[in-house]
Symmetry: C3
Subunit: 425 residues, 3 copies
Amino acid sequence: MLADRLARDLYTELSKLPFVDPHSHIDPRSAPARSLDDILGYHYYTELSHSAGMPQDCLAADFEPKERVRTLLSWLDRIDNTAQYRWFIEICRSFLGFKADRVAASDTDFLWSQAEKRMSQPTWEEQVLKQTNVEKIFLTNDFDDSLEGFDTARYVPCLRTDDLVFKLDDPKVRERLAKATGVEPTDAGMLRQAIGTLFQHFVRKGAKACAISLPPGFAPTKIDETVLSQGLLDLARGEATSSIKALVSWGVFWMLAEHCQEFDLPFDLMIGVNRKVYAGGVFQGQDLFDQRTSLIQYADLFNAFAKVLFPISVLTSSQNQELVSYAWIFPNVIVNGHWWYSNIPTFIQRDLTARLQAVPKTKIIGYYSDAYKLEFILPKFDMFRQLLAKTLADDFVRTGSCTESQAVSLGQQVLCANSKAIFRV
Amino acid sequence: MLADRLARDLYTELSKLPFVDPHSHIDPRSAPARSLDDILGYHYYTELSHSAGMPQDCLAADFEPKERVRTLLSWLDRIDNTAQYRWFIEICRSFLGFKADRVAASDTDFLWSQAEKRMSQPTWEEQVLKQTNVEKIFLTNDFDDSLEGFDTARYVPCLRTDDLVFKLDDPKVRERLAKATGVEPTDAGMLRQAIGTLFQHFVRKGAKACAISLPPGFAPTKIDETVLSQGLLDLARGEATSSIKALVSWGVFWMLAEHCQEFDLPFDLMIGVNRKVYAGGVFQGQDLFDQRTSLIQYADLFNAFAKVLFPISVLTSSQNQELVSYAWIFPNVIVNGHWWYSNIPTFIQRDLTARLQAVPKTKIIGYYSDAYKLEFILPKFDMFRQLLAKTLADDFVRTGSCTESQAVSLGQQVLCANSKAIFRV
Amino acid sequence: MLADRLARDLYTELSKLPFVDPHSHIDPRSAPARSLDDILGYHYYTELSHSAGMPQDCLAADFEPKERVRTLLSWLDRIDNTAQYRWFIEICRSFLGFKADRVAASDTDFLWSQAEKRMSQPTWEEQVLKQTNVEKIFLTNDFDDSLEGFDTARYVPCLRTDDLVFKLDDPKVRERLAKATGVEPTDAGMLRQAIGTLFQHFVRKGAKACAISLPPGFAPTKIDETVLSQGLLDLARGEATSSIKALVSWGVFWMLAEHCQEFDLPFDLMIGVNRKVYAGGVFQGQDLFDQRTSLIQYADLFNAFAKVLFPISVLTSSQNQELVSYAWIFPNVIVNGHWWYSNIPTFIQRDLTARLQAVPKTKIIGYYSDAYKLEFILPKFDMFRQLLAKTLADDFVRTGSCTESQAVSLGQQVLCANSKAIFRV
């Protein structure tokens, strides 16, 4: 893929190294795809096809899966310029015996049957993992996940807390919390007890991080316990105004940070997403952002929890400069991957270069897949490795800052060693 | 111009293709320049020269035109580093028989007489169009333009609506509207009738878009008709506060979007300009921006008008990431050209790369000239073609995403095919 | 350092040219470092090492300096990827006879003794200046600096005004002002008299600029004199609310601009820093920013003081596009250097390219060192020269906009000539 010789050499070395994937949405009980429908059902393909004009009827649950795939494939030529399309082609080539560089609806039968044949093999999961060369994969677990039924050494649990922070006004969420912990979160003390129980459960099961995604306007601060108790009461009575809900969000969030401190867990913050901006969009293809956000909103948090590491993802390349600067100053701010709308080669290249030039190398977590199915880890990390190799070649080796072998070490650090050190796996 | 062989080959192929210019300020009844004064009177040259120290007296209407040109040429060496200067040099070389790479005041006589001789030829317009290889040029027409007296197949009318949305408090604008439509916009119903009349007129005359430029703080929403009626009444009485004016702006804007839907016209939004920031600046050289703006301000609009296509221009490269993301999610958001302060090679390169990597290729309108005189279309599109060729070479062909011929097709799509499909010309 | 031949040739030419450093924190009475501790005590090393995990105890005033250096050197491997690390290596190689490309704690004795031997030479200052090839160095002088005891032709005084604008509520600052001027700033008239006295003193001593750093939220406007007088009274009584303090800040700032106009001094604005964001950080390693700021906040100022030149530094690369655009429109807005968190190769490259493509070449001040010790001017300017050479090679010579010799002239202009013309030295 890389035309430049030096970059290609570095890429070759980096490709030999096993790595850690510190954030995914993999279901560890059903990690690989079971069909081509699982691959093309990824929201990147449904949302881009829809954006390019595809009606949504083929996405209905009762639509015949193979015909859904055929429909999607017939729209993909409209997005064959995109990075996301390249991931799909690489999956087809790496895992499905496909040889070409473009797909069409006429490839449906071949790809479908290849997928059917291969994915039904009992060793498919092992094959994919081996070919991918990934050592450990972090999960995104609901707070009431039993964490049973999978190998937590390979699939590392991670406590996802969006529901607790932003949906505690929903009786079903409070019920789930009560059921998972035996505690009704009716005041600050009870909530603390419930959260403590969750952390105990997760840590006992090998969880290595707490995580949350946050809207651009979020600016957490410490909330007085009696105020929080009053807010929780209003919530329980269904009487909470939007200000009360915001205040409870801050209180719960702050309490989670306290538990990260107590339980010695990094707290992954994924900053900047507004949910359901395109209300009529496809599943998981409705969220967008407001570039007007700042890490200054988290200054209180970073100051208050000096012992908690905060691996941070931002949604825009302009906020990347803030992230670089905050990680350069705050010991507990870690730069983490290239998230969602910034997970595009040109933004990765720019953001990565700035990080490598200005953040201590021990504080850079290079990349995570954010994948829902195992097959996506390979093409995504491969895209990143190529960009990393190019950056190391042009901005480090060629400028005389590094030898080639130092560049490979630096690459290894951001691809693997830092994740292991920061999350202690 | 391009040092790289592959980029040069792609550029050569792209240069052979006719293209559409989907936004300009060309006066179709006087499309080419009539003198060198028309060329150097372009605000880019007057404002940059003034910014570099030139007093404004030479810009007075009664200043002798050839001496104005001599004065401007004497200041241009201070901006000979700029992209705008390159456009001028290319005009001199392409259309005026100039051979050098720099101009000075001492070139005034030669250039003036060449321009005089050539521009007075009856076939000048045809010569420029042919050499430029442009098929269709979109206009910016005042709402009360008769649209008579020119070939609307070549010069495509476009309803510009800034006055309706932002200046309806000006009695002269209301008068113009009444005169053009026979309707006084005294309440929401009358306004709707007037706007309907305008759309009928424009569509009958071959208009292919409605367009507007918007300040960074604009955040339109649907306004209740009775509230809008009250606002229009206040406006008519000269009693409107600035809040009432803002509210009327939203109401008129929303009504325009409704008509775009009814008349099946795309609605070009050019987002981000504050008018008259430098009050003492030269004509058309007074407007600047506030980077603190977000496309989230238009989420209601995009959701409400799923059937209306919104080709969107933004003013900053950081907002380009928003535009890329919104176009990737919303089917009705189209990315449109490189506007004004972002129409600079380095910003075009960055913004274009992100668009080509993340937006469906059918939703990218590559470029428009924004020109006031025909002669500017060639150098501006040529700048863009070079940058497009470079991007296609480095980020598509060299990365293995595309063959050369696929790259040329992609280039053709963003240079021409998409404009034709989106605006239905 | 530069792999590309053309860039290297341009760099070689640029390196021969003497230059002006238009902003530093050099103490002219003790300009070079006196020990390696002075070099590694630079906040970039202490803050990055701390950010990478170094406890702060070694930074205590009574910690043995050589052991502090050993400690810092033992942490530097964690930041050996950064641009700041390269500056240190280049200092070791240029001034301390060091040969390697990496340092370790084991180099402490060698480097310490080399520094001791060389820095104690009576001609050290001259040696450093000569090797650096810098002609004039601008200072940052407190308003009550005597400006005695140094050569103001080499070390150019500059009136730093942060204390006056933002700390006039501090009795010690008011006392210092009274002591320096013989005037108590108890009302607007007295304040004007005091400031006039300061300007007279500074200009008489050869000051060539007034300067200030400003928080991202600052939006100055003209304050009525009686309102300012009331605010100053509240301040003197210790009764000023934060709104009153903000208002006094605006009033003082505006009065400084009036004096810049009267005394014909450029007013350097360094826009965007929030102080003490990381309260527990190392000395000078506590400040960060909020990207949500705009130059529109200064529109009133630029309009009101058409005769005052405002060399402006911004803290983010996204605001650089605003700066480029404002400098392209406002005759009195000058782009100035690459400040702090933007003083990183990738941001310099992007920002510089945009400036060179869109701002009149006479209005671009390429770079300043911001250095505290003379030894840093060389590696910082050298980094800039390399990036400048690369930009000129790729975006000017290779695109055909410039010949090589025109490129060198353009480089000379932004490295030296513009500073001399703008600051009249």
